[in-house]
């Protein structure tokens, strides 16, 4: 097995708010192998976006790292100084956001910004940078890349902007691409096209991709491995087929069961999970999912659940799961 290109080790991170510190990540361990597509699934508030931000070393001004590391090619990026972090971003690791409109400056053309993103490529001339930007736009499927280079962000549709954002992220050939809800703001038809594009690019660039989303369909279409998060913890990690066809953690099962897309027969009532997320200002000592879990026993409410390996590459954080 090759060295992971990105690994998150025992990462705990809290957000300082006037009402107390919110434990957004609680002991997360996760690694990404070269060229693999890892999906991070979970509902809002589970910490998946915080994890994505921490992976590129941008957890936000009120975040406090309580323990752990994020290693990218052997270096701990959270421990690096801001300048060194900046040099890693773009070259080694890049990110695509949900709303690409906010990732671009509204007053510069796409071409100017794509050239600018290559500022770290010292050896290249302006003309070369322009050409590689143009080629990248053609690669991500913009029909008229020369015209698109002269356009401003607002002149492009949402789908085109997301393509440009992906092109921008891949310009420096990073080893890891983090995509936070890359298709959530798009229509189904655009969503299908972006999924298709990411699949192609992964084959061409051999770049590892981390897809963070609440959309289980997108993960099933695209990922090799899936990590399911709940209340700041990774509750289950599994190869994609096992996760959808042999899920072990009760939360994963509940999540899959209530996805309307999973229920093909017309149903009068859809299953729901019930209950609500625990207050992460004061995380529970036992299993965080226990209050909503149908399998919970008294032990679940008091003792932290063990991580149970159920198959190679498949584990679940649960008292009731047996290997």
């Amino acid at each position: 097995m090759s060295e992971p290109v990105l690994s998150v080790e025992n990462l705990s991170l809290g957000y300082v708010t006037p009402e107390g510190t919110v434990a957004a990540l609680r002991g997360v361990n996760l690694s990404v192998d070269p060229g693999e597509v890892l999906g991070v699934a979970g509902e809002s508030g589970c910490g998946k976006s915080t994890l994505a931000a921490a992976m590129i070393g941008l957890p936000g001004p009120n975040a406090r790292i309580q323990s752990g590391h994020v290693r990218l090619g052997g270096r701990d990026i959270l421990a690096l100084d801001p300048g060194a972090q900046r040099r890693l971003r773009g070259r080694e690791i890049a990110m695509v956001f949900q709303d690409p409109m906010t990732a671009f400056s509204p007053v510069l053309t796409m071409g100017a910004q794509l050239v600018d993103f290559q500022a770290n490529r010292d050896a290249a001339s302006g003309r070369e940078k322009w050409r590689s930007a143009r080629d990248m736009l053609a690669r991500v499927g913009l029909s008229d890349p020369d015209l698109s280079m002269r356009r401003y962000p607002h002149e492009l549709s949402g789908g085109m902007r997301q393509r440009v954002a992906i092109a921008a992220a891949l310009l420096m050939r990073p080893k890891v691409l983090i995509a936070d809800e890359p298709t959530t703001a798009l229509d189904v038809t655009m969503e299908a096209q972006i999924i298709h594009l990411l699949r192609e690019l992964r084959a061409d660039f051999h770049c590892a991709i981390v897809i963070v989303t609440h959309h289980l369909g997108v993960i099933a279409e695209l990922c090799d491995r899936v990590a399911v998060m709940y209340a700041g913890e990774v509750v289950e990690v599994a190869p994609v087929d096992a996760l959808y066809h042999a899920p072990r953690h009760p939360y994963t099962r509940a999540l899959l069961a209530c996805d309307p897309a999973n229920i093909t027969q017309r149903a009068a009532r859809l299953p729901t999970i019930g209950g609500r997320l625990p207050d992460l200002r004061d995380p529970p000592s036992g299993c965080a999912f226990a209050p909503r879990c149908t399998m919970a026993t008294p032990r679940c409410r008091t003792a932290p659940p063990p991580r149970v390996a159920v198959a190679p590459g498949h584990n679940a954080l649960c008292h009731e799961v047996t290997p």
Binding site: G159, T189, H196, H214, E221, P260, A261, L270
Partner: protein, 331 residues
């Protein structure tokens, strides 16, 4: 039985205007020749991508968007003059896609849910009891009444939106993307809530969405819109089992399924919905259609009745076998 809502040949055009056309001669067509009807107690889903004109239709039904042709009738009474729309305000309600943004930011949840009573001068009796009752109906605790919109979660804001929409017991609720931006478990809760309320109060829903997974569960009939024109309509089950229009087929195929064993290798649909500024000649879908033939580029197909309540707008009678013999429609 007369339809609750009946729309015939509805047309919405806006002035193109602009620098070179101050007279607005270049009219942009947003909705064209749209006919729909909705029976009392029925749920109809209007499906299409953004830019298909589905939100404009909702606004037109409520009188918030001027129409330039066709007729609309609500419960048998025509909707044409501003007064006609005012007369049905109490019997219609609109649920917004962004539920939190549809609540006045400096108004508490309690004030927001009883606002329809204040607007229409309907007596409410004990204010607190009525608020608690309305909130209970959508599964919210009475202490939510003191909250402000920015203090609500996505699901809670959506419930407040439902409570307000149903406050005056309307006959028709238009719901714009009722589950957009919600987590899957919350989506299911909102859909269940809408189904319960429909059963309890005999509501009709007009659901506007691009999310097919949602449509399958809540709608009895589907109408698919492309660039402001109806391309296919019919009973939900029949359309999902056997979509006829190439656009409907692509939409269903494009939906990512939560099952890695059903991955799609090829691309279901290419390109983007064209801008209404550059409406394609002939069949509007020909620029993206896998079946498009010469005739599609200049001749606009008409809406054909396929029987069993199904209608479709395509030149081809057999759209299921790609590359198979297709019969052209002769007029």
């Amino acid at each position: 039985m007369t339809a609750l809502l009946d729309i015939r040949d509805l047309r919405v055009e806006v002035a193109g205007g602009g620098w070179f056309d101050p007279a607005g001669r270049g009219r942009l067509t947003i909705l064209a020749d749209l006919s729909l009807s909705l029976a009392a107690g029925e749920t109809l889903a209007l499906v299409g991508e953004s830019g298909s004109g589905k939100t404009t239709l909702a606004r037109a039904i409520l009188g918030l968007q001027a129409t330039s042709g066709g007729t609309m009738a609500f419960d048998g009474k025509p909707l044409a003059e501003p007064g006609d729309f005012r007369a049905i305000r109490r019997r219609t309600a609109l649920m917004f896609q962004d539920a939190a943004a549809s609540l006045s930011p400096r108004m508490t949840v309690g004030d927001a849910v009883i606002e329809p009573f204040a607007i229409h001068g309907v007596p409410i009796g004990n204010r607190r009891d009525r608020i608690a009752e309305l909130l209970a109906e959508v599964g919210l605790a009475p202490d939510m009444a003191a909250r402000y919109p920015h203090e609500l979660s996505g699901g809670q804001a959506r419930r407040v939106g439902v409570a307000r929409a149903l406050a005056l017991k309307p006959a028709l609720v238009i719901a714009d993307e009722p589950t957009a931006g919600l987590d899957v478990s919350v989506q299911a809760e909102i859909l269940n809530l809408m189904a319960d309320l429909r059963a309890r109060h005999g509501l009709s829903y007009l659901i506007i969405t691009h999310n097919l997974a949602l449509v399958r569960h809540v709608a009895e009939r589907i109408a698919v819109l492309y660039l402001g024109r109806l391309v296919e309509s019919g009973p939900t089950g029949a359309i999902f089992a056997d979509p006829r229009h190439p656009y409907t087929q692509s939409l269903i195929a494009a939906e990512p399924l939560p099952d890695p064993r059903k991955r799609r290798a090829d691309l279901a649909i290419r390109g983007e919905i064209p801008s209404i500024l550059r409406r394609p000649a002939g069949c509007e879908f020909h620029t993206r259609c896998p079946l498009a033939d010469a005739i599609c580029r200049y001749d606009r197909p008409t809406l054909r009745d396929l029987g069993q309540g199904r209608r479709m707008r395509c030149h081809f009678t057999d759209t299921t076998t790609k590359g198979g013999r297709h019969e052209l429609e002769h007029r």
